[in-house]
Symmetry: C2
Subunit: 195 residues, 2 copies
Amino acid sequence: MTREPAGAAVLRPDLTDAVLDAVLQEFAEVGYGRLSMQRVATRAGVGKSALYRRWPGKEEMVADAMARLGVPEDPPPDTGSLRGDLRALGEDMRAWLTTPAVRPVTSDLLAELARSPGLAEVFRSALAGPRRRRARAVLDAAVRRGEVPDDEILLDLVVDVLGSAPYWRMTVLGEEVDDGYLDRLAGLLAQGLAV
Amino acid sequence: MTREPAGAAVLRPDLTDAVLDAVLQEFAEVGYGRLSMQRVATRAGVGKSALYRRWPGKEEMVADAMARLGVPEDPPPDTGSLRGDLRALGEDMRAWLTTPAVRPVTSDLLAELARSPGLAEVFRSALAGPRRRRARAVLDAAVRRGEVPDDEILLDLVVDVLGSAPYWRMTVLGEEVDDGYLDRLAGLLAQGLAV
């Protein structure tokens, strides 16, 4: 009698992908509060045991889905000017926020951070973290060129603004982030940062 | 036999206040999705009829509670410099975001805007609107003094940043907005805006 090998080898990656897609769809439809392992299993067409073999519970499963929402893979932009680099970062942010998988879940996800420390931890390390580090690399290069002051608080603030301003405009005000807006954002920050 | 007069006169304001307090407490505790007229009535110690005499339904009731979350009553700051005025606006925003009634509901409220057009309308007109106009008055005065360009998109962006940066830092990153942060925010925007 043969036994299936134990451990990661038995977890079919295509099934994991299907489940994580189902998590994102459920999240967008019903929000984090009403999302359940059962609903996700039903939507993905698998048994609940397939979920529990992968994650101990809902928080870990959702965290995993979040972490797949798009970590930037390109190196930080290097256009030849701080303004151009900031413009490129703003454009990346807009592209990410308008991704079909991302747009409907952003606000619910942010609302959930206050209630779910585990999810907040994953959001900050796996989702916001890589984006923030990429933006920060652009600013650190400008510090090395002597174009902006080496002021930790100020640089962190600029990283905040690059993410929060486009989010705010789209989600809170319900307006589009057009090229004119991104031009002003890059111009405002580049001039505001200059030594 | 006497009848109670119909209309607004029968609505005891102290009862209205108690119900609106209960709405904010429920909102903070369970979020918008699970908030119900029944739960609010129970918490406020009144019958559901007392609620329906005041509001046709949940959305209108919550909107009314939101609208009471604090409209700025002071005139726009006039400290003698754009930087000082922006600093004062940032400080107001921090004070508002950290109000005990406001802090626990902000993120759920923002998440709900995408699902409830009626609530979004009230949020934008009654809650964000007065704050945005107050910030905009500061910028328009600086335009008249010839200190900043008369650029609608840029001025709107700066109004966005004054609200979104402190919100982002507190709620999304879970960090405090200290005086150093507000100093940088005012400095970044004042220098970034200068003609």
